[in-house]
Amino acid sequence: MKLLSHHLQSSRSAWRSILTQPLEHLVNVVVLGIIILICLVSITIGNNLNIWQNNNLIHPQIIIYLDQNSTSSDIGKVEKELRKLSGTTLRTYKFISRQQALNDLQQDRKLKEIASDVVDENNNPLPDVFIVEAATTNPDEVNRLNLQLSQLPKVEDTHLDVNYANKIGNLVDFSYKIITFVQLICIVIVALVVYNLIRLQMLLKVDAISVSRLIGASDSFIMRPLIHYAVLQVTVATLFAVGGVYFLTGRVNHLLFNLNSLFGKGIQILPLSLIQLVTMWLILITFTIFTVFMAVRWVFRNTYHN
């Protein structure tokens, strides 16, 4: 009860401090907000990268060319093998029959002109094809899958763009590393800004703190209002950043909406979920409290000696 009363009093004091000098504190909130915004944007990109990856937007494809003489029974056998691999190393597969490929070719005006001399209903050189999407972007795993598929019966050849797969894999890995790095940097910067904020607050209130300690104030009595002050600022900055990231997501989705009509795919940026936002806020608050603790210890050690 006593502790709750202390915290309520400290919270009131923090609000009073911010409301009496809103402009001074607005600068802090904006600085913190921008850093947290960058952090949230990086998390949003990471999330969507994951979603795009799962939605096959950046999965490597392997094309399986069947033997010209393959029968529907052979096709069924290959499909049976592919079905076994589905959900493990293989994400999806699609069968395109030689007849369908021919029809598509004939409907394509440019290709039709090029192939008209050698391709017709009675002379179809096109093979039956399975287009397989790997479940992973890991180049080694994709290569293994490619080898496995090439050894299936009645498979004439498989085609994998190894460079493409490698590039995609490397790009995704690199993106995750960058995103993790940006998040860590942002948290460190937030901690440094809060550290400096608290240090300055303590130096501004040097008389009050000094007198309080002389008449018996404990470290926690001094620290409590500073924790509330910092937590309040970080919370307001987080709200500011959340607003910012939702605004940016909306703008980007508006642009993507126009592109979707060109690519025919429903690509959009998904915003962060409430759980992610609350988790992020809790992480920031934990770091903030720890930082206040460190800052107070530093100032006590270097400024006060009683």
Binding site: D207, L214, I215, G216, A217, D219
Partner: protein, 223 residues
């Protein structure tokens, strides 16, 4: 055996740096409810004794025992906690100019965190009434005279009803009339049962009170 001793110094020595010896093997006791004056010239060691009692400083050797607790054997946090039960009147007032008279006095209560809002209001008003500042509740410290500022400092020191009241040169910057008024205030608190230790360099003010005076000279008792 129940002892009446509240404050005990046993062979206490305190150095500041390598060359300054503020107290040199000093021993004395102060009983519960006693009013004791510390007299002596500037640098005699008066303030150091008060700081050692308050736990603001720690002795280099010897024992400072307050109400049976040896301050050398407890942690910094515990010494801070003990200060919550001691009233201190500082030589330089240590008034906070960023808040009014009421808020200056309530600081002593806020630190303990033991009182409700109503209790805080009652105690602050009572303390300010005791020192004659009840009409300046909302005034700012810079609007007070030197004597009033000293009384404000006393109100803050007594607002939580401490068992021990320490006053470091409370009359130093006051004229004789105001100085006597301040000493009368301490006398009133003493009558209420508070143990009081007051340091003063103007010995002429102290002799009329018929209380024990400890004369200090270079960290030792004189004569």
């Amino acid at each position: 055996m129940v002892s009446d001793t509240l404050i005990q110094f046993d062979q206490v020595t305190k150095h500041y740096g390598a060359n300054i010896t503020a107290l040199n093997h000093l021993s004395f006791t102060i009983a519960k409810g006693e009013l004791v004056f510390l007299a002596g010239h500037s640098g005699a060691g008066k303030s150091t004794i008060l700081k050692l009692i308050a736990g603001i400083e720690v002795a280099n050797s010897g024992n400072v025992v307050i109400n049976g607790i040896n301050l050398a054997k407890i942690s910094q946090n515990q010494r801070t906690f003990i200060r919550q039960h001691v009233g201190i009147v500082f030589q330089d007032h240590k008034i906070l100019y960023d808040r009014n008279v009421f808020d200056n006095v309530r600081l002593g209560l806020d630190i303990t965190g033991l009182y409700t809002k109503q209790e805080v209001n009652e105690r602050v008003v009572h303390a300010l009434t005791a020192v004659g500042l009840e009409h300046k509740l909302r005034a700012h410290p810079e609007q007070l005279s030197g004597g009033e500022q000293q009384r404000l400092c006393i109100a803050r020191a007594v607002v939580h009803k401490p068992k021990i009241l320490l006053a470091d040169e409370p009359t130093a910057n006051l004229d004789r009339e105001n100085a006597l008024k301040i000493l009368e205030l301490f006398k009133a608190f003493h009558k209420a049962g508070v143990t009081i230790v007051i340091s003063a360099h103007d010995e002429s003010l102290l002799s009329d009170y018929g209380k024990r005076i400890l004369y200090l000279n270079n960290g030792r008792f004189r004569g």
